[in-house]
């Protein structure tokens, strides 16, 4: 074990893992994150907390993770390189480890253009692959990027993201291999709606033997409505929403679209479980966390296994 992470224990013993995520509030009220955590606590093995997603300012992922941790939840600290240089990043890694956070998801982050502070200066001192390397070096070699020794190594289970749907398609697996070589131990993918394309990507992953080196958790986001599906298809970069899914939602009355969205997610999870090399799912129910218990129940993922 490289960490005390519950998620790492579950994945390393071969259980099918379930993670989900909470978006922190746009304010200082801890109850928002506590409520979200309480809703999904028993349905998942670990909960990601997003780091100012879409570049909209929110409560920090770091402090939200601590709040979840206090509730007995295993949090996954999402960290983007958009807002911190290598000094702040390493400092936060030490601080998070000191407060008992033991999962980290290394990301580059959404460009500030998409958020509420479009005039901000981005940092990008490091990219996401550098961030993975940084955590690994600090954990395994006990050294800062600058070369000095660390007194008290931070122990993290290291994660990264992968988007099987972005271009250039044939390079996406090469990039995954780079993330694995850098030190990624688990991967949470972009939301999967195009299962055929995902299966093609997984074939490339298996051809390179990457499925034996890294735990891949397939991303699932339930559609609340036809409007959301259209928005995701047209407006969200790197998202692949096939026409047949749009047609399926169109085919049911408006008030039933949310149910249909949940049904699609449950079916997706069931199909993902059948794919060799997929070791779990990451359910991102955006501002719809209350649906996670139902989805996991329907998909036969409950009860979650106990960990010593």
């Amino acid at each position: 074990m490289t960490s005390d992470s519950r998620l790492e224990k579950i994945l390393s013993r071969g259980d099918f893992a379930v993670t989900s995520e909470c978006g922190p509030p746009r304010g200082a009220d801890p109850e928002v994150i506590q409520k979200k955590g309480a809703l999904i606590k028993d349905s998942v093995d670990a909960i990601n907390v997003t780091d100012n997603q879409t570049s909209v300012v929110r409560m920090s992922s770091f402090s939200s993770c601590v709040i979840l941790k206090q509730m007995g939840i295993n949090p996954v600290l999402q960290m983007v390189t958009r807002d911190r240089n290598r000094i702040a990043i390493q400092s936060d890694i030490l601080g998070a480890a000191a407060l008992g956070i033991n999962n980290i998801l290394c990301l580059s982050g959404d460009h500030q253009k998409f958020g509420d502070h479009g005039k901000a200066k981005n940092v990008y001192d490091l990219d996401s692959i550098h961030l993975i390397q940084t955590v690994k070096q600090m954990r395994d070699e006990g050294k800062f990027l600058g070369g000095d020794d660390i007194k008290g190594k931070p122990r993290f289970f290291i994660g990264a993201a992968a988007n099987p749907f972005a271009d250039p398609f044939e390079f996406r697996v090469v990039r995954l291999a780079k993330k694995v070589a850098a030190g990624a131990q688990f991967i949470q993918t972009q939301c999967i709606y195009n299962l055929d394309r995902f299966k093609q990507w997984m074939q490339l992953v298996r051809d390179r033997g990457l499925h034996e080196k890294v735990h891949i958790l397939g991303g699932v986001t339930p559609m609340k409505s036809l409007g959301m599906a259209n928005y995701m298809k047209k407006m969200v970069p790197g998202m692949d929403v096939p026409d047949n899914l749009i047609a399926r939602l169109k085919g049911v009355p408006k008030e039933k679209q949310a149910d249909e969205g949940i049904k699609i997610s449950v079916e997706t999870i069931q199909q993902l479980r059948e794919i060799k090399g997929v070791h779990g799912v990451h359910i991102m129910a955006i501002e719809w966390e209350e649906m996670v218990p139902g989805i996991t129940q329907e998909a036969g993922l409950l009860p979650r296994p106990k960990v010593e």
Binding site: I129, L145, P168, K178, G238, M239
Partner: protein
């Protein structure tokens, strides 16, 4: 070349408020080529300022002049008399030109008439695009001659990010993703293997983050 853009006339009026005699000084090099601060622009901006200043209630007396290069003392010399007989200078040079004039004339107000934007090239008629951020440690040989620091909005050295689709950059959807271009170019020249290596974090100290950059060529100093 250095690419710049003209400030608007209302902005310039705000900057020049209260001045009486102003020299509008053009530059015959980069900013002439990018149609921002050459002889032609000096003439257009001067006419506009004469009218606008009158409307703003402080009739500017404007003299027009364009020199070969504002960033070079040899050429600045040719503007010496005109600078002396005016109260202030509105420079249509790049940021280097404005500062060269200001350094040479400590007692004279020198104002920037342009926004200096980037190092770039003419892509098509009247369209300029950025090619270089002058980071001080060139990596173009690693990326098939396409700069990820300049052309990727996240300056990724190990890209692409997850946002590109149909070859487009998610931040600037009308522009190609730099990483798509790098991938195609390296594929074309048989150097895709370069992308398999993890490129280490960059030393940003060679860039603006290390403070003012100075190059000294000892071998050329007498």
């Amino acid at each position: 070349m250095i690419v710049a853009e003209r400030k608007t006339i209302p902005e310039l009026i705000e900057i020049l408020k209260g001045q009486k005699k102003v020299l509008v000084l053009g530059c015959g090099t980069c900013v002439t080529v990018c149609l921002a601060g050459g002889e032609r622009e000096v003439s257009i901006i001067s006419s506009a300022l004469r009218i606008a200043s009158r409307l703003a209630g402080f009739s500017l007396q404007i003299e027009e002049l364009t020199i070969e290069r504002q960033c070079d003392n040899v050429f600045i010399e040719k503007a010496a008399e005109a600078i002396e007989r005016n109260d202030a200078v509105l420079s249509l040079g790049c940021g280097a030109g404005v500062q060269a004039i200001a350094e040479r004339y400590p007692a004279k107000p020198v104002y920037a008439g342009l926004n200096t934007a980037f190092l770039g090239i003419l892509e098509e008629r009247a369209v300029w695009t950025e090619k270089c951020v002058a980071c001080g440690a060139c990596v173009l040989h690693e990326y098939g001659g396409i700069c990820p620091i300049t052309r990727c909005a996240k300056h990724m050295l190990n890209g692409p990010c997850g946002g590109s689709r149909e070859d487009r950059c998610e931040v600037l959807p009308d522009r190609p993703c730099a990483w798509q271009l790098i991938y195609q170019r390296l594929k074309g020249i048989g150097q895709l293997d370069r992308l398999k290596q993890i490129k280490p974090p960059k030393n940003w100290n060679a860039s603006i983050h290390g403070g003012l950059r100075v190059i000294v060529r000892e071998d050329h100093r007498i």
